[in-house]
C-alpha cells in the first residue's frame, strides 16, 4: 500500500512542476501588457512604460523570470496582483472559501439527489420513474449551465421573487470572516437571520453548479447498481430470502459505490470549470470570477498563482481518490 502511495506521489511532483512551466509560458504568450491595459484612453508615455517594466521585472529574459518565480514560490510567495497590488496568496485566501462553499454544497446537492435517484431507477428498471430519471439526467448533462442560470434567475428571482439575485449574503448582515465559509461564520456569530440569508443566496448557484454532477452521479449510480444487481451473489442473497431492502442497501450498494466514488472525485475538476461560469453569472465573489478578471487585465501573477493553486488542489483530490480507490480495490494497486 505504502509503495502504491509513494509511486503516485512521485508522479505528482513532476506534474506540478510541469504545470508551473506550462502556465508560466502560456500566460506570457498572451498578447497585451498589464501596464498598457491599465492605462485606458490616456495611454502611457514610453519612457515611463519602460521604467515600470523594469520595476515589475518584466524586462528580464523569460527563463530568468521563471527561475525567480520558482524560487519565490518555494518560499510561499506567489507575487502581487498588478491591478490591486495585493499579494496573490492573500487574495486567493479571501476568495477561495466562497468557491469551496459553493462547490461543496453543489456536490452535496448532487449526491443527495443523484444517489437515491440512481438507485431507485436501477431497482425499478424500465419503470416510468427510471425513464424519467434518465431523461432528466441526460437533459441536465446536456445543459448549457450559463443559460440554465439565466433561466433560473428569471424565474425564481425576478418573476417569483423567492431567491436573491446575486452575491453571498444580504448587505445588512455584518459578519467578520472567521473561516470564510459564511454558513459556518454566521452560526459562530449565532445570527440565524444571517445564516438564512446566506443559505438563500446559495440556492440558485448550487442548483446551477450541481446540475451536471447530479446528472452524472445519477447515471453512474444506476448503471453501477444494474451491474451489481445482476451478479450471482445478489441473486444468492435474494434466494436465501433476505429482505429486498437489505439486499439492496447493504450488499449491492456497497459494491456499486466504488465507481460512483471515482466519478465524484473526477467531478472536482469539472466543478471548477462550472464555477467559473456560475460565479460570473451570480457575481459570486470566488476564485473563478477572479481568474476571468485576471485574464482581462493581463494580471500575470494572479493568473499564474491562481491557476497553480487550483491545479494543485485538483491534483491532491485526484491523488486522494486514487489512494482511496486503491484501498477499496486491491487489483488497482498492482496494475501499474
Amino acid at each position: 500500500m505504502l509503495r502504491f502511495v509513494l509511486t503516485r506521489l512521485s508522479l505528482v511532483i513532476p506534474t506540478f512542476i510541469g504545470i508551473t512551466l506550462l502556465v508560466f509560458v502560456l500566460i506570457r504568450l498572451i498578447p497585451g501588457d498589464p501596464i498598457e491595459t491599465m492605462a485606458g484612453e490616456h495611454g502611457i508615455d514610453p519612457a515611463r512604460l519602460a521604467q515600470l517594466r523594469v520595476d515589475y521585472g518584466f524586462d528580464k529574459p523569460l527563463l530568468v523570470q521563471y527561475g525567480l518565480y520558482l524560487s519565490r514560490m518555494a518560499h510561499g510567495d506567489l507575487g502581487r496582483s498588478i491591478a490591486t497590488h495585493e499579494p496573490v496568496i492573500s487574495e486567493f485566501r479571501t476568495l477561495f472559501p466562497a468557491t469551496i462553499e459553493l462547490s461543496v454544497c453543489a456536490i452535496l446537492f448532487a449526491i443527495c439527489l443523484g444517489l437515491p435517484a440512481g438507485i431507485i431507477a436501477a431497482v425499478r428498471r424500465n419503470s416510468i420513474f427510471d425513464h424519467g430519471v434518465m431523461g432528466i439526467s441526460l437533459t441536465g448533462y446536456s445543459m448549457p449551465i450559463f443559460w440554465w442560470a439565466l433561466l433560473l434567475i428569471l424565474l425564481f428571482s425576478v418573476q417569483l421573487g423567492w431567491t436573491p439575485v446575486s452575491g453571498r449574503i444580504a448587505v445588512q448582515y455584518f459578519i467578520e470572516p472567521v473561516t470564510g465559509f459564511l454558513l459556518i461564520d454566521t452560526l459562530i456569530d449565532g445570527d440565524f437571520g444571517a445564516f438564512r440569508s446566506a443559505l438563500s443566496h446559495l440556492v440558485l448557484p448550487v442548483i446551477v453548479l450541481g446540475t451536471v454532477p447530479l446528472a452524472v452521479i445519477a447515471r453512474m449510480t444506476r448503471s453501477a447498481m444494474l451491474e451489481v444487481l445482476g451478479e450471482d451473489y445478489i441473486r444468492t442473497a435474494r434466494a436465501k430470502g433476505l429482505p429486498r431492502f437489505r439486499v439492496i442497501a447493504i450488499h449491492a450498494l456497497r459494491n456499486a459505490l466504488i465507481p460512483v466514488v471515482t466519478v465524484i472525485g473526477l467531478q472536482v475538476g469539472v466543478l471548477f470549470t462550472g464555477a467559473i461560469l456560475t460565479e460570473t453569472i451570480f457575481s459570486w465573489p470566488g476564485v473563478g470570477k477572479w481568474l476571468i478578471e485576471g485574464i482581462n487585465r493581463r494580471d500575470y501573477p494572479v493568473l499564474q498563482g491562481g491557476t497553480l493553486l487550483i491545479g494543485a488542489i485538483v491534483m491532491i483530490v485526484n491523488l486522494l481518490v486514487d489512494v482511496a480507490y486503491g484501498m477499496i480495490n486491491p487489483r488497482i494497486r498492482y496494475a501499474r
Binding site: D33, H42, G43, H85, G167, A170, V171, P177, S197
Partner: protein, 531 residues
C-alpha cells in the same frame, strides 16, 4: 432544497431588513472592487469611488459641479504670472484612526508635501510602495510642470510651476491628489509594513473604512469629527454588484438605494418604477469614429463628409445607447463651457453622400477597415454593435468596411500609432476644461505617432486657436476661441461624432439630495435618507 425553508428565509430577511433601517444606512450598489485604497495609483473610476468617502484633497470640486472650491486648503492666492500658488491650510482637521494606528496630531503641511512627493520624487521612500505607477499624476503632466513644493509654515504651502497652466487647480481637485497622513506613513515604514497605509487607509474624509471584502462589500461609518460636520447618514455600504441587470433588480427590491451604470435596455422599466427617480446629466465625454486623416482616402475632406452623411446616427442612438446617450455634433459635451450650439450637424443623407463620394473620385465606393474596441467604455456601451450598424449603412453607399478589433491595450496603442483607417474611440474629461478635449485630442502636438489625436488631424487654423486659448486666463476670451475651433472642426470632419453618454443614476426615493457629479464620481457626503 425545500421550498418552505426558502420561503422562511425570504420572510426572515424581509423582517430583519425592516428593523435594520433605524440607523441611517445608505447602500450603493457599486459595479466592482476598488484596486486598493490609494487613489494615487488607481486607474479606474470604481477605485476612485471606493476612496471618495475616505480622503480629501487640498481643493475639491463643488458637489455636483466642476467648480473648484476650498478643501483642506481654506484659501489660496496665485501670483500674477500664474506660476506660484500659495495655499493656506485648514486648522483642526482630524485624521481617522484604525486598529493599528492612532494619530497624535492634526492634519498639517507635512501631510500635503508627503502626498505630493510620494507621487513625484523617486527618492521618497513611499514612491514605489504599492505601485510605482502614479498614472494620473503622470497623465496630467505634473512631473514636468511642478518646479517646487515648499512648506512655508505648518499651515502654508507654496507651489511653484515651470510655466503658467490654467487647469492646474482643477488637477489638484482630482481624486489622485488625495492627502494621506505622513505620521501614519512614517509609523508604518518603521514597522516594516509601509503598504498598510494603502490597505487600512486613514484619511480626513467624512467616512472611515470599517470593512472591505473583495468582490462583496465595502463598509464605511460616518466620521463624527469630520471638519465639515458629521455626515447625515451613519453607515455607508457599497454592495459590489458587477452585473447591471442585477443592480437594477436589487434596487427594485430595496436592497440598494443608488446604482450606477444601468443597463440601457432596462431604463424604460426603471423609469416606470414609482419608488425610483432617475437622475440624469450629460456626461463629460464623447464617443466618436475617427478617420485617419493622414491616410488615403480619408485625407480628402469630401470622403470624410460623405461617410459622416452616410451613417444613420439616430439608429445608433436608438439601438445601442437608447436613452443613455444624446447624439453628438461637437467634440466637447454640451455641459462644458464654450460649447457651440450654433454648429449644425451633417444630415443623414445617403444620396448626397454617394454623390460627394463620386466627386471625390470614388463612384463605386472603396474598401476600408472599421475598428471597434473590444470593451465597454463609459462613452460607448457596445462598440461592436455600433460597428455592425455602421457597416450596414456604409454598404449602402458602396463602402465595404471590415470590422477589426484587438485586445484593449493593444487597440489603443495601434490606434495612437495611426494604424487604422477608421476607428472608434472616445474620451472622458479629466478636469472639465475644453483644452482637455480640443487640444489633447485634436491638436497638432498629439497628432504624432503615439499621441492621443487618433484622427492624426493637424490643421493649422484649428491648432492656432486651441494653442492660443491655453495661454489666456480669461475664460470668456478662451470660450470665443474654442467656439471658432468647433466650427472649423465640423467643416473639416476629422471625426464622425457619435454620442455623448448621458449619466443616468437610478436612485431610490428615500434618498435625499444626492447630486450627480459631472465626472461620474459618487459622493455621499451631504446625502440623507428618509424612512
Amino acid at each position: 432544497m425545500d421550498r418552505s425553508i426558502l420561503l422562511a428565509a425570504v420572510c426572515a430577511s424581509a423582517l430583519v431588513f425592516a428593523s435594520a433601517a433605524s440607523a441611517k444606512t445608505l447602500v450603493f450598489c457599486s459595479e466592482g472592487s476598488p484596486e486598493n485604497f490609494y487613489p494615487g495609483v488607481n486607474t479606474t473610476g470604481t477605485s476612485f469611488d471606493g476612496n471618495e468617502p475616505i480622503y480629501n484633497r487640498i481643493v475639491e470640486f463643488e458637489r455636483g459641479g466642476t467648480k473648484v472650491v476650498p478643501g483642506l486648503a481654506e484659501k489660496w492666492t496665485i501670483s500674477p504670472d500664474g506660476t506660484t500658488y500659495t495655499f493656506n491650510l485648514r486648522k483642526g482637521v482630524k485624521w481617522h484612526s484604525s486598529k493599528s494606528f492612532k494619530p497624535t496630531r492634526d492634519f498639517n503641511a507635512d501631510d500635503v508635501i508627503f502626498s505630493i512627493e510620494r507621487q513625484w520624487k523617486e527618492s521618497n521612500p513611499y514612491f514605489k510602495v504599492t505601485s510605482p505607477n502614479h498614472s494620473y499624476f503622470g497623465d496630467m503632466g505634473l512631473p514636468k510642470l511642478l518646479k517646487s513644493v515648499e512648506k512655508v509654515d505648518d499651515y502654508t504651502i507654496k507651489v511653484t510651476l515651470d510655466r503658467p497652466e490654467a487647469p492646474f487647480l482643477a488637477d489638484l481637485a482630482m481624486p489622485f491628489a488625495a492627502i494621506q497622513s505622513k505620521e501614519y506613513a512614517d509609523a508604518m515604514l518603521k514597522a516594516g509594513t509601509p503598504e498598510k497605509i494603502d490597505q487600512d487607509p486613514i484619511g480626513t474624509g467624512p467616512f472611515y473604512l470599517v470593512q472591505y471584502q473583495k468582490d462583496a462589500v465595502i463598509r464605511y461609518k460616518a466620521f463624527p469629527e469630520f471638519w465639515g460636520g458629521k455626515a447625515k447618514i451613519d453607515d455607508l455600504v457599497y454592495s459590489i454588484t458587477p452585473d447591471a441587470s442585477v443592480r437594477w433588480a436589487k434596487l427594485q427590491k430595496g436592497e440598494c438605494d443608488v446604482m450606477p451604470y444601468p443597463n440601457p435596455a432596462d431604463i424604460d422599466a426603471i423609469r416606470k418604477d414609482p419608488n425610483i427617480t432617475v437622475l440624469e446629466q450629460p456626461g463629460l465625454n464623447v464617443g466618436y469614429l475617427a478617420f485617419q486623416t493622414q491616410k488615403k482616402p480619408f485625407d480628402d475632406v469630401r470622403v470624410r463628409k460623405a461617410i459622416s452623411m452616410a451613417i444613420d446616427k439616430k439608429a445608433i442612438i436608438d439601438a445601442v445607447f437608447l436613452s443613455t446617450g444624446i447624439p453628438a455634433k461637437n467634440p466637447i459635451p454640451p455641459s462644458m463651457w464654450s460649447y457651440n450650439d450654433n454648429v449644425k450637424d451633417d444630415p443623414y443623407d445617403p444620396a448626397a453622400a454617394k454623390k460627394l463620394l463620386a466627386d471625390a473620385g470614388f463612384p463605386n465606393g472603396f474598401e476600408t477597415d472599421l475598428w471597434a474596441m473590444p470593451v465597454q467604455r463609459p462613452y460607448n456601451p457596445n462598440a461592436r454593435r455600433i460597428a455592425e450598424l455602421m457597416q450596414a449603412d456604409l454598404a449602402k453607399i458602396g463602402v465595404k468596411a471590415e470590422i477589426k478589433s484587438y485586445e484593449w491595450g493593444e487597440y489603443r496603442k495601434r490606434m495612437q500609432a495611426g494604424e487604422h483607417q477608421m476607428g472608434m474611440f472616445g474620451w472622458t474629461g479629466d478636469n472639465g476644461d475644453p483644452d482637455n478635449f480640443l487640444h489633447t485630442l485634436l491638436g497638432c502636438d498629439s497628432a504624432q505617432s503615439g499621441g492621443s489625436n487618433i484622427a492624426k488631424f493637424c490643421y493649422k487654423p484649428f491648432d492656432d486657436l486651441v494653442v492660443k486659448a491655453k495661454t489666456i486666463s480669461d475664460q470668456a476670451e478662451r470660450a470665443k476661441l474654442y467656439e471658432q475651433a468647433q466650427v472649423i472642426f465640423k467643416e473639416q470632419a476629422p471625426w464622425f461624432t457619435i454620442a455623448h453618454a448621458v449619466q443616468l443614476k437610478p436612485v431610490s426615493k428615500r434618498v435625499v439630495d444626492f447630486k450627480l457629479s459631472p465626472f461620474g464620481r459618487h459622493n455621499f457626503y451631504g446625502v440623507d435618507v428618509k424612512d
